[in-house]
């Protein structure tokens, strides 16, 4: 707090002289080219403006930096406020952060008021709409749970469009009726102005809603309904506001049926036009990310800039900017996430979060700050109280009525508690304030009353409803969000369920939700993905596959951590792959314990609370990684990159823990690091250029028991194995034959170092010759006769060279029907029966 005060004092000190100087004209043209002959301006504070007789060494150049400096200082101040608020967790658990920030805003405003005796800083609508709001909406829409959003889009739209119109209309009319009834004394407000006020009051604010609901963890359907509604409803509100604003400018008598129809038409044009602009920009962004591979550093920036441009473009065309950026974010997320590098996705996510959270904080602080202004406070008890009453009452009525209609056709009806929370979650926020502040005082004489009332409503909803929301939700026993763990079973079965449902709908012969979903998916797969995704990304665009990949990555991470803490992780590095291995010693040590531990742990985990595999301690984690090592696809570059990342770090940071046998103490760590980095870089490049990798080892069984069971890939069972890791060691060392004499050592570093180039001739042929692989049936069907009886090592390699991909792509469309599936099976059975004895499809 003390720091804050200090900062604020600083701010005021800075800002007061600047006002003085600003009055005297721009006298701050200073610098070394400052001519001594120039007319001496006399400002008391600035040393630079005095006549200089000698070359100044240090000059005070406040005016040069005034605006950006103040902006930066204010940003810092607001963020420090957030810091202060977050210091005390017991407080934030009772009062939502947004409310606390508003209160801190009051204090800051008070200090400014005390220093300046006037309101110097406030939230200007232009700044709010152009610089603070877009990134919040972009972040919200980009992080929107896509599937959930679109599957509830109908309900969200009903609430956002009809609900908002209902709120705007009823609040306006009811207030006007009360005014006519004499509840507010004499005010200079007409019916149209009341409607305009109702329109701006109907903006349920996504910022406030997210801030409150994120802390409450309600179930996901309820969350998406409230959140989606608040997001879309902003757009609708702005449109409504503009229509009513135009009506107010026209004046009552000129409004006839034609104008009203025009208003309705413009409502739809603005709303749908804005959404369309957003979709167009989403397509643009997605297409752009197809080709940004070479400028990965600024990849994330493209999305932010283009998103912002979609906002501005819609604004320029006087379409709904908020809707535009919302749909832009929602529509492009899937494709850009697939197209961009994983690192860029993380970057984007974090930078958006920084921007959004930052401006959210600023908005709340300034909402508080703006209140300290005696000009806007025109008190009218009747008006204010009635407004609060009406927005709450009509919100409840609207939500209940619309939900009742929706429930007639919803598969899973929205239950009553959810409806109450939905109604109660109608928080008003900065959008309402921004709109109220843009009101034109010439047209609406009572602007200040409206502004003041808006602020009070905002405080009432954000602070009071925000505080009561959590106990309210608990009291109502609203279904909370269940923490869904990522499991393959879940993913696979989800997919199965989808298929079953569509099949059932087909059998019943009706076009249901699943029919639409499925046809959209079909269309998307065929055209949209082709247009918007890189071929690489298309390949990986499978949920089950993605889940598998993610689980593997998590395993890899925990494996490395575990291995390190045991001090037994070793590296085997060779030209084109990195692999991890447990040292024999550890494996032997654990050999007899492992099965027991494994059984115990999994019993515990799955039996009690279904903790997913990756949370198991070492044994099963190590199993996971061995799958990763041995079986995942080498072309799965991400996995390898990430794995390497982890390995690289761990080696660097934890060297002392396992240096006893593998490191010579005399080695210069700096040099090591440098070489390491260089080889890393060159390998990354060659990975990229070759578009494929080589997997070090073949598939391994998970536990010894399985060895005696049937192995479909033709791998002979090894009954003599004493422990699960026995033949792995063999595999790994065979793979890295050249360097296995010094396992875990950078034996190749002298040879690797000069290989910095991408087009290493020694490297590429090796890649190509490594292509012999095991062909899946569908490939054999195309007559792609690369089917070579594979060695065990080759089996571990992946058939995806770019040429093979080209074979696969068209084939994928053509093999939709089950017949060609069967044919593929038949053909493979003829051609290579000994290759895959266990893969016959027995079809029904």
């Amino acid at each position: 707090m003390a720091l804050l005060r200090l900062l604020l004092a600083l701010l005021i000190v800075f800002s007061s002289p600047c006002k003085v100087t600003a009055l005297e004209g721009d006298s701050a043209e200073v610098g070394l080219n400052y001519s001594s002959k120039s007319s001496e301006t006399s400002t008391s504070t600035n040393v630079t403006t005095a006549t200089i007789t000698t070359l100044p060494i240090v000059i005070w150049k406040w005016h040069h930096v005034e605006t950006p400096y103040l902006v930066a200082l204010w940003i810092l101040t607001c963020w420090l406020c957030k810091l202060v608020v977050e210091l005390n967790h017991s407080l934030t658990s009772v009062i939502p952060e947004s409310g606390l920030l508003i209160m801190l805003g009051f204090i800051l405003g008070g200090i400014v008021w005390g220093a300046d005796k006037a309101q110097t800083f406030k939230l200007v609508p232009v700044n709010f709409f152009y610089y603070l709001l877009p990134q919040i909406v972009l972040d919200a829409s980009y992080c929107m749970p896509n599937k959930l959003f679109f599957s509830n889009l109908g309900a969200i739209l009903v609430h956002a469009v009809i609900g908002t119109c209902w709120n705007a209309g009823t609040v306006g009319v009811a207030l006007w009726a009360c005014y006519e009834g004499g509840a507010m004394g004499t005010l200079n407000i007409g019916a149209l102005q009341f409607l305009l006020f109702g329109a701006l009051m109907s903006a349920v604010d996504p910022v406030a809603v997210i801030a409150v609901f994120e802390e409450v963890h309600v179930n996901e359907v309820l969350y998406i309904l409230v959140f989606g509604e608040s997001l879309l409803n902003d757009g609708v509100t702005v449109v409504l506001y503009n229509v009513f604003d135009a009506f107010v400018s026209l004046g009552g008598p000129k409004i006839n049926a034609e104008e009203i129809i025009k208003g309705i038409v413009s409502f739809f044009v603005v709303a749908f036009g804005g959404s369309l602009i957003g979709v167009v920009f989403a397509v643009l962004i997605s297409m752009l990310t197809r080709v940004t591979k070479n400028v990965q550093v600024i990849e994330a920036g493209f999305i932010i800039v283009l998103g912002y441009l979609s906002y501005l473009t819609a604004e320029m065309l006087s379409l709904s900017a908020i809707l535009s950026i919302t749909f832009c974010g929602v529509c492009c997320q899937k494709y850009i996430n697939a197209n961009m590098d994983e690192k860029s996705v993380t970057t984007l996510r974090y930078s958006l979060k920084v921007l959004a959270n930052g401006s959210e904080t600023m908005i709340f602080v300034f909402l508080g700050l703006s209140a300290i202004d005696k000009n806007i406070w025109v008190w009218n008890t009747g008006f204010i109280l009635l407004t609060i009453l009406f927005i709450v009452v009509f919100r409840f009525m609207g939500v209940f009525f619309l939900n009742w209609i929706l429930n007639q056709s919803r598969l899973i009806p929205i239950d009553i508690t959810d409806q109450i929370v939905m109604s109660y979650g109608g928080l008003r926020g900065a959008v309402a304030y921004g709109l109220a502040a843009t009101l034109d005082e010439k047209k609406i004489p009572e602007k200040n009353l409206m502004l003041g009332t808006t602020l009070i409503v905002v405080y009432f909803t954000v602070v009071l409803q925000g505080i009561t929301m959590k106990p309210f939700v608990q009291w109502l026993k609203v279904k909370k969000a269940t923490q869904a763990d990522l499991t393959l079973n879940g993913k696979i079965n989800n997919r199965t369920f989808e298929h079953i449902l569509t099949a059932m709908e087909d059998i019943c012969g009706r076009m249901g939700d699943n029919w639409w979903t499925r046809h959209w998916k079909h269309f998307e797969e065929k055209y949209v993905c082709w247009l918007l995704m890189t071929s690489d990304a298309r390949k990986h665009n499978d949920q089950i596959f993605g889940a598998f990949h993610k689980l593997n990555l998590e395993d890899a991470t925990s494996y490395v951590t575990e291995g390190e803490s045991k001090g037994s992780l070793a590296f085997i590095r060779n030209d084109d792959s990195a692999s991890v291995d447990f040292k024999k010693k550890l494996a032997l040590e654990y050999a007899d314990i492992i099965p027991d531990i494994m059984a115990d742990m999994s019993e515990y985990d799955f039996g009690i609370d279904n903790v997913p595999v990756m949370k198991n301690p070492i044994p099963s984690v190590s199993l996971g990684i061995h799958e990763q090592d041995s079986k995942t696809m080498p072309n799965d570059l991400n996995a390898h990159h990430l794995l390497e990342q982890h390995l690289y770090k761990s080696r660097r940071y934890n060297r002392p823990t396992y240096s006893r046998s593998h490191y010579k103490a005399s080695e210069n760590p700096d040099e090591m690091q440098e070489i390491f980095q260089r080889t890393m870089r060159s390998r990354l490049e060659s990975f990229k250029s070759a578009k494929m990798g080589v997997n070090p080892a073949k598939k391994l069984s998970k536990h010894p028991k399985k060895d005696s069971t049937h192995k479909p890939n033709g791998k002979p069972a090894d009954p003599n194995r004493t422990h699960p890791y026995g033949d792995e060691d063999f595999e790994f060392s065979a793979d890295s034959a050249s360097s296995s004499d010094i396992a875990g050592h950078f034996s190749r570093r002298s040879t690797n170092a000069p290989r910095a180039g991408v087009d290493n001739p020694a490297f590429i042929p090796e890649m190509d010759t490594s292509a012999p692989m095991r062909n899946p049936p569908w490939q054999t069907e195309t007559g792609n006769n690369t089917a070579v009886a594979p060695s065990q090592r080759a089996q571990g390699r992946l058939p995806w060279t770019p040429t093979n991909l080209r074979h696969l792509a068209p084939l994928r469309m053509s093999t939709r029907s089950t017949d060609s599936f069967a044919m593929a099976d038949a053909s493979v059975d003829e051609e290579a029966p000994e290759e895959k004895p266990g893969t016959h499809h027995t079809r029904l």
Binding site: L411, I412, A484, D485, T487, L488, N489, G490, I492, N493, R495, T496, F497, H499, I500, L501, A503, M504, D506, I507, C508, G509, R510, G512, N514, R518, D542, I544, F545, A599, S602, F606, G607, N610, P612, V613, G624, E627, K631, T632, K699, K705, T709, H710, P712, N713, R774, W778, Q795, G796, P799, L808, T815, R816, S817, T818, G838, T839, T842, L844
Partner: protein, 194 residues
């Protein structure tokens, strides 16, 4: 009303059927119309090839399994009552209708829905999803992009996740446990038109 009751009269044991499946008479009539439309030859029962004639079903990767689920083992036909009983698995669970504790579990209960899904995997009906069975389903569902190696590792991993007794297969109990957190009522229900 006349046509309604006359359609209902054609269906044997219609009262019992409605009782058992929870479908309203409007539902039953609608399904009966559909049944007749599928039964092109008018034999009063459906054969697998009647289902096969549904174009969209051929596009469903596990369509054949689902068709198979309509036929009890050894039978080549399914009559209307059994047809409706299968479909009744997918009726949304009705919360408000209080259930008689003595009455048998309704067809659309959670565990019955799960059983339906389970038997799609468990083609040899031994009460367990073996690795091979899972692999077959995965091969059907994962499409061309994934290689055999990957399929195998995914299958291994899936079994490992769910397998509690380490017999390398997923029993129904294990299956149920692995989906404990999934909202089955939601995911295994479709809206039947009235």
């Amino acid at each position: 009303m006349g046509s309604t009751s006359s359609t209902l009269l054609k269906i044997p044991n219609v009262e019992e059927l409605m009782q058992e499946t929870g479908f309203s008479s409007a539902h039953i009539i609608r399904l009966y119309d559909r049944f007749k439309a599928l039964d092109k030859e008018g034999r009063g029962h459906l054969c697998p090839h009647d289902f096969g004639a549904i174009k969209e079903l051929a596009m469903n990767p596990i369509g054949d399994r689902i068709i198979g689920a309509f036929f009890s083992p050894g039978q080549e036909t399914v009559d209307f009552n059994n047809f409706v009983k299968i479909l009744a698995h997918f009726r949304p669970v009705d919360k408000d209708r209080p259930r008689d504790p003595n009455s048998p579990e309704p067809i659309n209960s959670r565990s019955n829905k799960l059983k339906f899904a389970f038997q799609l995997y468990d083609q040899d009906k031994d009460g367990k999803i073996s690795r091979d069975e899972l692999l077959k389903v995965l091969r059907d569902m994962l499409g061309m992009q994934v290689t055999e190696e990957q399929l195998e590792s995914i299958a291994d991993r899936t079994i490992q996740e769910a397998d509690l007794d380490r017999d390398d297969a997923i029993s129904f109990e294990e299956f149920r446990k692995s989906l404990e957190k999934v909202n089955i009522d939601h995911k295994m229900s479709i809206r039947f038109l009235r």
